[in-house]
């Protein structure tokens, strides 16, 4: 009996150590990281977020940042264990936070589905839910495989994903949006481009078979009407001009990615 005590003690210590390593108080400066935490059910750890993070109002999570700047003072007073930032945050902000002794973890912007999954798992490990995160990822990978199988072979429609209106912006390779197109068996009309700001004429010349408009609000409707007015356009003839919800489509989390892909494939074929 007495032999159990050291063992139990060891377990408790290990548990304490891992718990100590888990981040309990997280401030997220990255919307999709916030979303990921929700997806894992770990939103209670969130003590701070940005004004444009997809949080539930009922959770009353304090806002520490807006689009242009981070309120460093407020961040400090909330005593976070870790602040998660991304390449979209200013390097000076990250430096400042580090200088003040706050741990900052950088989440790069995922450039593909593979990266989306990898980063999701990273966040999971950060909150001690690595296993759960991995589960979610595996589930989505299975879903993805099924979806890919449903894609009819032989067709290779030209796809244009519009992510901006004034100026006209399209999704280019080296982003996870490219994966949308690839997994659904399509071809990105912008595959040769590095920069996404294009002229309307370019789009017409490429003559996409399918157009997805991923902008917000009425602008999307107007863009749809504009594209529909070009009668010689393939997508117009096929009646395949669709508006997708920007929040769902532009959030690089595994679940939302597959959701969006599912909708896309349904619309495309």
């Amino acid at each position: 009996m007495k032999k159990i005590y050291p063992f139990v003690l060891l377990l408790i210590v290990c548990q304490l150590i891992t718990q100590a390593q888990e981040a309990k108080r997280i401030i997220s400066l990255v919307p999709w990281v916030t979303k990921s935490l929700y997806l894992m059910g770990e939103q209670s750890r969130l003590v701070g977020c940005t004004s444009y993070c997809p949080v539930e109002a009922s959770d009353h999570i304090p806002v520490v940042a807006n689009a242009m700047s981070v309120n460093i003072e407020k961040t400090l007073t909330l005593k976070p264990d870790v602040v998660i930032a991304s390449s979209l945050n200013k390097p000076e902000t990250i430096d400042n936070l580090r200088k003040l002794g706050i741990k900052v973890v950088l989440q790069p912007y995922p450039k593909s589905f593979v990266e989306i999954c990898a980063y999701f798992i990273q966040i999971g490990e950060l909150v001690g839910q690595g296993a759960k995160a991995k589960d979610i990822v595996d589930q989505q990978k299975v879903r993805l495989a099924k979806l890919k199988a449903r894609v009819p072979a032989g067709k290779n429609p030209k796809v244009f994903i519009q992510i901006g209106a004034k100026p006209l912006f399209c999704a280019v390779p080296e982003t996870f949006m490219e994966d949308f197109i690839q997994f659904s068996g399509g071809k990105n009309i912008a595959e040769a481009l590095k920069l996404g700001s294009v002229t309307r004429e370019y789009v017409l010349k490429q003559n996409p078979d399918v157009i997805f408009i991923v902008t917000m609000g009425i602008v999307a409707e107007e863009e749809k009407n504009t594209w529909q007015s070009y009668q010689a356009l393939s997508a117009t003839k096929n009646k395949k001009i669709f508006i997708l919800d920007a929040d769902k489509t532009c959030s690089p989390t595994p679940i939302l990615f597959v959701d969006a892909l599912e909708e896309m494939i349904k619309l495309m074929y």
């Binding site: 807006n66 242009m68 004034k166 370019y202 017409l204 010349k205 009425i218 602008v219 107007e222 356009l233």
Partner: protein
Amino acid sequence: MQKKYLHWSLYLAGLIVLLVASVVLSLSVGEMNLGFMDIFSILRKGNGSMEYTILSQIRFPRVLLGIAVGGSLSLSGILLQGVYRNPLVEPYTLGISGGASLGVAVAIVFGLQHLIGSFVLPISGFAGAFLIIFLVYTISSRSGRINIQSMLLSGVMISFIASSLMMLMMATTSSENLHGIIFWIMGSLDEPDMSLIYITLILAFTSLVASYFFVQPLNALRLGEEKARHLGINTDTTIKLLFLLASLLAGVSVAVAGVIGFVGLIIPHLMRLLVGSDYRILLVSSFLSGSIFLVLSDVIARTIISPNELPIGVITGIVGGIVFLLMMGRSSLRTLKNN
């Protein structure tokens, strides 16, 4: 006497030819290069081909807008320079672009276009411009008689305030909105709404005709405000009306196409160097050259980093500035030779 009128007719003819040539160039050049002869056959074949769509729905509207905005801005510039007798005055010195930019910034930041629609942008741009025009006009006519210098000063000051307010908004909004505001500010002839283009075009040509009713006062003003009065010209009424006309032209241009700078400054100067200072020829030549300049700048903006598009304000600034410096250089060489 006859010689003068002959020269004018030649200039006019030359400018019209240049305008037609620029239009044809603009219609031919782009992602798909269309030969001159092809244009006719495409038009005849009518609806259905991609070339027809590009030609009629993308290039043609851009050309029309280029003519309208280029003409409007130049006309506005020449009228203002005539009124203020100051060569540094252009439509935007008076704060019109500052006001319009502020109006658009407000609309974008409050997400109005998501609620109401894209046409809210030109309207807020024009509302902003109009507010500035109204402020400048009321401030300067407070003391009864119009004081030209105080008009200029109040315009510049209000412009600064508007710009600062706009930068304040830009500093506190999301990067997506920021991108939208900056893109709008840098100017573009990409406007899918044909009704806006028609409005601008009709306004431009109507204003050109209307401005010719002021040719005499404008020429008299070349001698100065007091001397123009001595010649029987009602300078107060003239200045007020011309100011409003010029502001309207600039306000509508900026609302529809964003801030396209330098056109209202450079073209009038260039024309003065080329055709002289008589407003009878200056008004229409400024209008036409402005149109030509903008149509050609748009061609460059569309093709230079194809398939991406440069903001047209960049082209007008750089190209316009260089061309002007060259002309200034040659004219000062000529005066050196004469002396």
